[in-house]
Symmetry: C2
Subunit: 506 residues, 2 copies
Amino acid sequence: MDKKALLEKLHAIDRECRLLERTASLLHWDLETYLPSLGVEERSEQLALLESLHHERFTSLETERLLEELGSTTDNPRGDEKLPELERDYLRRMRMDYDREEKLPLDFVTAAAKAEGVSQAAWVQARRDNNFAAFLPHLENMIDFARKRSLYWGFKNKVYDGLLDIYEPNMGVFEIASVFTPLRERLSSLLKDIAMKPEPDCSFLNDEFSAEVQSKFNMELMKYLGFNTKRGRLDISAHPFTTTLGSNDVRITTRYFPDNFLSSIFSTIHECGHAFYELNIPEEIRLSCLADGASMGVHESQSRLWENVIGRSLPFWEGLFPLLKECIPKRFDNVKAYDFYKAVNLAKPSLIRVEADEVSYCLHIILRFELEQGLFSGAIKTSELPSIWRAKMKEYLGIIPDTDSEGVLQDVHWSHGSFGYFPSYALGNLYGLQFFGKLKADISSFEDLVTKGDFLPIHDWLRDNIHKWGRRLAPGELLKKVTGEELSIDPFLNYIKEKYSKIYGI
Amino acid sequence: MDKKALLEKLHAIDRECRLLERTASLLHWDLETYLPSLGVEERSEQLALLESLHHERFTSLETERLLEELGSTTDNPRGDEKLPELERDYLRRMRMDYDREEKLPLDFVTAAAKAEGVSQAAWVQARRDNNFAAFLPHLENMIDFARKRSLYWGFKNKVYDGLLDIYEPNMGVFEIASVFTPLRERLSSLLKDIAMKPEPDCSFLNDEFSAEVQSKFNMELMKYLGFNTKRGRLDISAHPFTTTLGSNDVRITTRYFPDNFLSSIFSTIHECGHAFYELNIPEEIRLSCLADGASMGVHESQSRLWENVIGRSLPFWEGLFPLLKECIPKRFDNVKAYDFYKAVNLAKPSLIRVEADEVSYCLHIILRFELEQGLFSGAIKTSELPSIWRAKMKEYLGIIPDTDSEGVLQDVHWSHGSFGYFPSYALGNLYGLQFFGKLKADISSFEDLVTKGDFLPIHDWLRDNIHKWGRRLAPGELLKKVTGEELSIDPFLNYIKEKYSKIYGI
């Protein structure tokens, strides 16, 4: 068979696998948004079935045979040198995904999927009841599955390296710790400086805003940012997320707390950032293993760039404030855009990661990274987590949660075994500001455009420099291509220091 | 291997197939409710993939081997006589489903699924544009697929028999025509008598009712009828439907026309009737091929019993009217329950089947049955459909649609190849009134219960006499078991004549 026919066969298998993944994503999306409460049990069974079908199809002997015939091996994943660059990038990803997936036995995949469903349900209950002990056996089970997964795959130095690698290829404990340690020190120190200054006035946000009012504004907001609602939607879920159900079907969610209007606004902007990445994946790699972000960290660079660098900037609120006043008459009559800008940049240690400000956010992540590291090295026992959590919160943020629900039980990730995921959130901040440096150099009128709400040139730049690559490049390769640099904490720290020094008069 | 182990293996395959079917149902439900408009194309591809996976799994050699080892053959589908009755009923259904499904080549199944998606989209457009010619090639394609399907299966006398049998086992053209012909004559005659009498006053319904107001009332209504919202939900779609996504996840939809409040009320009651059937499938047959209604006709007997026999009765509105007045203050201050009862029973020929009254409804169905019969016998050419539609509307109902959108293009069924489905709707009316005769004989306080809104004894009776059987019995067997009778048009006609003679003073 000629190479073209072989590639076509491989693409067909890959396409089926992606269709199955996206069907599973719909099952998940519905679970988080509309599923009747008693429907959860069978939904878990549906998800486990799709996962096993995907595994069987993807790791079939046919996939292996096609990869080999195309010259793609573990040592030479890009295959035959005569193939077009796109196909060689494609083969590299397929080989890496195949090598990872085929090491897991089908029984293991199915058992893990089922246990994750049960564990997540137990977590929801335990968090509601503030009962860490009830969640403990499930957490241990999840750690056990994660450890086995890493052992199946093999890892550089530590078990935890194998898990980190899923979300951020080529970043292990050593690499991450070497950026997180200085980051922690400098953010902690800045947070202490800020604490000495008076807080901005946020009293105009202390009002109640009904879900209807918030929903109306958030719908306008997503359109204002340039989200084409023929290609996606905004719904409500307990935890905001973005999911891709099709090349033209990318959905985001938010939530409406009557006493915290900002929460919905910034989670909508954040998820729009993820959605723009997914919606800009080019036609030529759609429904293939390349149709995704370069890594979770790079994905997060997009969401946090929109949420913070754009969404929490003064030009942004100068542009958006009239729309806010129009959607919600009277409430903000005596407020100026600059006051609003200061209020949305309140920097103050708080208990919940997803509501944290830009300065303290990374500290929440670093705490979780250190705990995960300890769990997998054996230095921390699972039962000790609540007390170590409190101790680290005190040390890094100066506050201690009253309950485990506001502490170690707050995040969903561990409940479904996603260990190694958290660091991506902080890496996203770093990548984001490195990309942003280049973006601002290329688009000199950036601030004017943001004030006008004219985001098209920004969308174009992000698409042409970042999104269009999908998963063709590893995160480090992409960073190098766009900025010419290696990973660095400086652009992020400089941005934070400059912005907050001004706001707080430090 | 012993019989028990063989059965377990067969049940496991069946369970997987049902899980796949229900996953596909979610893809469909989402397509009709929340899918962004540009997501349709990939959604069709996802549906076609699931359909082919289902087909492959269900028609695997392993299924055939297990059925044979359990003694189930085409001639002796119930298998080994020593097995429990439930398992023998189960084997009968599995064998029938297997025999039907394995006759279809995988290529055919996949091609049909893809073509159906395209055809349905073309129909939506054609109906919007009132352009039958644009839909014609797709319709011909769908007829061609249906014809081939029937040829693959084999049929009693006519190609159309093979299609009718999918929805109503053991009912062919001859059996259906022999009840439809007298039904048509007697309903047409009654409709003429009614037309001579003055119409009831419906002026209080001419008001506009916003979607919010209607939605609020419909949510209350489903709970009033006894729908447990932990096991299902109500959403909005262009065409009301019920779908089962899990044993504890049965969803219904309705639609809100500001100028037709009754439309949403009666479609909600109708779909609740379907949902109650699905929700009452007993534990022991869940997620098996028995977990469904006996036939589409029997399913429709439940929806139309709730919608019409209960939902359009005087006791029902005497009970519900206070709730309606509470939900929608002031609008009905000067209206009495009896006036409302008369208004919801307006009998008057109209163009659209789903909005038709109880007297004329079956005439819409009989028209479609006659057209389908002609299409598959060759007596009617596809291009002649619009003109024959108009001629038959004139003959049976005395009115003619101005446009094809209100005529031959109004229903979705043909667009996705569901020929042979329509007759179930009329059969449902007949079954429903036969069942109802027994229900009223068993529950002497029926009218009191309905007035009080105490539906529990009615739910129990329907569950214990009809729903609990799932697909264990064929429609005729179920009818015999419940009523001791064969299919008859008399109970339905007697009910209609008695009710409408009173309302119209004939």
